[in-house]
Subunit: 354 residues, 2 copies
Amino acid sequence: MRSATTIHDVARRAGVAPITVSRVVNNSGYVSGDVRKRVESAVAEFGYVPNSLASSLRSRRTHTVALIVTDITNPFFTTVARGVEDAASDAGLMVIVCNSDEREDKEQTYLRMLLGRRVDGILLVPARGAKDSIRFIKKQKTPMVVLDRPVPREHVDVVRCDSEDGAYQLGRLLVSLGHKITAMLSGPRDVSISVERAKGFRRAFSEAHIGASSRVYHGEFTQESGYEMTRKALAAVPRPTALFAANNFIALGALRSLGDAGLRVPEDIALVGFDDLPPALVTFPFLTVAAQPAYEMGRKGVELLLDRLNGHPPRRFREVVLPTELIVRHSSGTAISFLKEKVNGNPKNRSQNQ
Amino acid sequence: MRSATTIHDVARRAGVAPITVSRVVNNSGYVSGDVRKRVESAVAEFGYVPNSLASSLRSRRTHTVALIVTDITNPFFTTVARGVEDAASDAGLMVIVCNSDEREDKEQTYLRMLLGRRVDGILLVPARGAKDSIRFIKKQKTPMVVLDRPVPREHVDVVRCDSEDGAYQLGRLLVSLGHKITAMLSGPRDVSISVERAKGFRRAFSEAHIGASSRVYHGEFTQESGYEMTRKALAAVPRPTALFAANNFIALGALRSLGDAGLRVPEDIALVGFDDLPPALVTFPFLTVAAQPAYEMGRKGVELLLDRLNGHPPRRFREVVLPTELIVRHSSGTAISFLKEKVNGNPKNRSQNQ
DNA sequence: TTGTACGCGTTATCAC
DNA sequence: GTGATAACGCGTACAA
């Protein structure tokens, strides 16, 4: 089969020892100009590409980190991945992205693969319960950072958003617009952010001391699930006057469901959600959302990871909580122009977040 | 630093030789039930994860293929990636996805990394001119398949769509709707599909023997570029009555640009494009497009690659050309209901492709 | 400035 | 059925 040229081939051709080739290729140690030239031309001639398997085996460094997300088709995670990619690239690291599909078994399978490949570190968005996976990784002593979702009672670095507060802000917005009957279209029960967001949303209403009712529907973080949950929510009596979608895909499903039900947004019913959609994908920005700094989350995650990779392990585990940004658009309904100024601050900020 | 348990640790604990552990773990060779049990419990006790670097170094197989695309944020390539992922997964292969950003230098950098890691095969969507990269890969004797874009005069397997025909069909549609002045918003000049699509589009008009004019604008395959090209196209005299966007992002940019210019689609100007958007991202399917079977392209690419990986190298290089599907929606304008039946066939097909 | 010896963790090969 | 030995390709430690 394939038998690529090795450092020995190059060494023989250049009339030197393998280690000298290594020094030239890696710019380590002293090599005279003459020898360097001979080696370089031999490298070029053979198209020699060093075998990083061997190198990693020896050096115990793969210069690779892994990112496991729960839905790679979701622009939110795509953006996280870009943040990870950019930060890792700056540090000379390659990134392997895996998609767990919100399933623990797939997550475990990928973890086995990645740990087998001896990746230098792992960034994990845990599917469902996270404990088994976290313990598994820690048992291999591989540095890790959990992204996006809080993991109570586990000793691990975490970078996440303030879901509770983001949901609270959306709730307050709806309160201020006079809504009393609302419904939340949430993700799986056993995913922490589903719970956090429900909590924050409810707090806004309970604080307001208005006899409001908010029903919570649990499903998946998908458009299909959003569609179905919306159908159920609309069947409730009394019908909610506003919906809160726990993520962007649920919101899109809700939007379509409402359209199919002949309801106009926001005239007939208001809709707010979590996670903004990237400008490239949206023709007419319309949804009022609590936007998470996805790109920053990715970057920050790598930052924490690097501290451990480079032998600066902080003694304590850290939890970085990033703020969400409330972006008020049309889907939340009346009094928009007033609220825009009040809640969102400088109008210039808005244009970046269509 | 980290020092994971090795096959020797497990072997010692189980009172056997390392090779026996290997046999148990990999289900290769005969191992008695008794020994197997002892080994398995030792594996569990240590949480032993075999080092695939060492394994690959010895066996010359990484069970990994690489996919390099030009824009991972584009749903088209996300879908291709899923096709690749699924097919590879079926064959017990892992996939590493890299994003060249349509830049040759990034493509080369990733290629070095991947070849260094001795991936078993490479699926490449070539950025710009593809020749250097293809030769580089072939020099390492790594099996490869080119996706999405034809590469003339290179000896390599290719899986792509019939861009020329897809563009031709869109052109014919516009001809049949009476358009004579059109503009094409295309990608970079040096990307083959840009040229192919322009050719097919023009052919539709030249065949019709109507004194039609179609101007071609070259830019990037991005929403921003689509926006700008549309501005330029609208400034032309006489103004085009229909636009053809060479991919989905260009179409979205055009849509926004037209909106900003106060033009309604399709009442004031028609718009057709290449590549459909996934249902999950689109609330109201609206664009008339030539849809490419992205998922199939990914799967088929892996299929060709596997033939070479598994030692069934076909003697000739193959080129698989997949058909595009014309999906007529509102953005192309009048006479839709008639055309839907005629061009798109069974209405049931449409609902899958919102 | 260059080279030798050895080890990283695993498996191919051959022996028992 | 199981084991000993060597080799995969490279880099560290030390020597010259």
